[in-house]
Amino acid sequence: MENGLDPAPPLLEVRGISKSFGAVRALQAVDFTLRAGEIHALLGENGAGKSTLIKVVTGVFPRDAGIVRLGGEEVAPRSAKAALQAGIATVYQEVNLLPNLSVAQNLFLDRQPMRFGIVREGEMRRRAKALLADFGLDIDVAAPLGNYSVAIQHVTAIARAVDLSARVLILDEPTASLDRHEVEILFGIMRQLAKRGIGIVFVSHFLDQVYEISDRITVLRNGRLVGERETASLPRLELIRMMLGRELAETTSARASEGEHKAREICASFENYGKAGYVAPFNLELRHGEVVALAGLLGSGRTETARLVFGAERADRGQATVEGAPVRLHSPRDGVRHGFGYCPEERKTDGIVAELSVRENIVLALQAKRGLHRPLSRREQDEIAKRYVKMLDIRPPDPERSVGLLSGGNQQKVLLARWLATSPRLLVLDEPTRGIDVGAHAEIIRLIRELCDDGLALLVISSELDEIVTYSDRVVVLRDRVHVEELAGEAIDVGNILAAIAADSVTVALEAHT
């Protein structure tokens, strides 16, 4: 090659994109480059900024800074429709088509072939048939789209997007609800489209599929670009490190020594506990004054384990024991009665009651635990709210403000306060630091440590491995809904956790462990 540089500009060039939602910086100076004819995986854990990046590029969200070039020319679409016209099409996990209309009508919605103001149904069907034949699909295009499987709906959405002269095709978790065979069909179509010169962005959390289909990988983490690599030359362990680990800076650990935690009393234990199709049976012991972390990739069964432990999901096998006595955990009420608390990952939908005040949100669980007939008086409520607003430094320090108006970090503190007010013995925290600005982040971690010193048992889920290393006494590693490894004491470091997550089999994990 005479000239080392590729003369043609990349198909899609994103430079220095930033986006904030209030105090939360969702994207910070992110770059992304897509070449024509490549399949490019965009990876990152929940909250890494993948969706935000897609939405900023396609004009769903306005951007704060940065530029987008398509085929060398700067574009700034103001809506998904404008992006589509410019040649950037997005197919979301939930297909945005109309299930009650026919496949043909969906394909040609808004641009039906017309003659004398009348839709030419026959012509439309013929063209729909031809279009889908390109994708190896031979179906009755006159039947309602809703009659077909999700896979076919996906292909229809892709066919429509491509036919609208898309040059860039963004597929957001397209395989999440497809079975193995359907995934194969989809991948076949993706390869075929790439051959035609279309650039495909593939968002997925199935790493196997990423390795199978993608040419290059871009990893985001906490709204920043971690790196862009060739798939072929990126070992899986390194990829997971990019997704989960920070720079692996040495972390000050306040862990208890191994001997110490053996002496601690068991708070709750779960024996052969599990639910079919949800999480494989596991054994778990939670001790007073101890932090147990659940580590693993998205979809590995972390949240599922947490929900079983709390009682939000009913186990179909195994036995739970609290302070030595067997218990049944069939509902959140059972969990609360036994002194458990649970801060869910989805704060807005599963945590706060946005319309109610900070005070009401804080006393909610305590009031539910006390029952209807023992209401907390307004004076008691005020006292409790004031105490926790001060203790957790909730801002603004106004207990009567609606929780929905608070920042993410403060909402998280309100949820913590809700459970602390019930004087729990066990707290389950699912991603307690997600979507929280840096200051509040450090505070929450300090709180976790303090609560543990007060004798609480804690079960914490986090994608931040160095965070886990900082506060955990034990780490349970999950993969594919199975508890595969438990690390304790000195064995807890980012490298070991990564090895356990990445291992293709248990033996590899053991090797990495020794």
Partner: protein, 330 residues
């Protein structure tokens, strides 16, 4: 200054004052009250008396709506309980009549609550079933006739008075106080508001959201049954076809005028009842003005629009901006 005025309810109180003022203009003797045979008479008393059924319905409806539900069957429940009360009135004592009628309302409420809370049906569909079937049940009870009665006990419930106050008004007031005491005296109010505000989150916080939902539909059924008994006592008979017809819509309107969102969450019992009174004050005013009652519906629509606009967050945002602009001027 603004601290002296109640934050909530201002729009409703203003609306009521305006409507009362208009009523005073169209009917100069609107505020006249006189005592006759130990009972108060006058247009204002009429408003209260006529407004009782919707006020009672709105007491139950506001709780249902606070859980993000709706109960379309209250008019039909009125018909059922009225039919039962009228059929039993001349053969049984008042306690039995009341127990049977209110018991029927309770069963109806349980049915609605079961469909919504246990089977997870959408409230509007679930209660539509009883809305349709209920009138049929009422007609079966009355065997398709208008059942009249003469039991002085039951008639007294509709036409008697206590300390000069008409019985229906006294009953509605008593129910308001009772409901308020139960809901705000216990933790029920908070837990209902939490359930309506975010059922998933409340469930995870240990709130028995199903029990909450079941309870509000049961209470709604009981309130509707009481309204049905009073309506029957008032006319000394039960008409299964027309008793409580379309009143579910007035009750929903009263709740909405009272500032409770159809999306659930925060509610106010007093303001819901105030909403019922606003509706009735309008009805009575139009009747007194001599305009044909057809105007009633149009005027109602305009007033409802005005009250809702006063509550709209967008509009208060605009008035807030105006206030700030004024504040910055020297």
């Amino acid at each position: 200054m603004t601290a002296l005025l109640p934050r909530r309810g201002l729009a409703q109180i203003l609306a009521l004052i305006v409507i009362l003022a208009v009523d005073r203009v169209v009917s100069p003797q609107f505020f006249d009250l006189r005592l006759q045979d130990g009972r108060l008479f006058g247009s204002l008393i009429d408003v209260l008396n006529r407004g009782t059924p919707v006020a009672l319905l709105s007491l139950g409806m506001v709780l249902v709506i606070a859980t993000r539900g709706i109960d379309l069957s209250v008019g039909a429940i009125m018909a059922i309980s009225g039919a039962i009360a009228a059929s039993l009135a001349d053969s049984h004592g008042l306690p039995v009549v009341l127990a049977a009628a209110l018991g029927a309302g309770l069963v109806c409420g349980l049915w609605n609550g079961f469909l919504v809370a246990v089977l997870g049906m959408q409230p509007i569909v679930a209660t539509l079933i009883l809305m349709v079937a209920g009138r049929g049940i009422a007609q079966l009870i009355t065997e398709g006739r208008i059942v009249t009665f003469s039991s002085p006990d039951l008639v007294w419930l509709g036409n008697g008075s206590i300390l000069g106050i008409p019985m229906p008004v006294a009953i509605a007031l008593g129910m308001l106080i009772l409901t308020g005491a139960v809901v705000r005296g216990s933790a029920l109010g908070l837990l209902i508001e939490a359930t309506g505000g975010n059922a998933r989150a409340s469930e995870l916080a240990g709130v028995g959201t199903r029990a909450m939902i079941l309870a509000v539909y049961v209470w709604c059924g009981v309130c509707a049954a009481l309204a049905g008994v009073i309506a029957a006592a008032d006319i000394m008979g039960a008409d299964a076809n027309n008793a409580g017809l379309w009143l579910e819509l007035d009750a929903i309107l009263a709740v909405v005028i009272g500032g409770t969102s159809l999306f659930g969450g925060r509610f106010s019992l007093v303001l819901a009842v105030l909403g019922a009174l606003i509706i009735q004050t309008m009805n009575t005013g139009i009747l007194l003005s001599g305009y044909p009652p057809e105007f009633n519906l149009l005027v109602k629509a305009v007033v409802v629009l005005a009250v809702l606009l006063l509550q709209s967050p967008k509009l208060s945002g605009i008035s807030g901006v105006v206030a700030r602009l004024r504040g910055t001027k020297p």
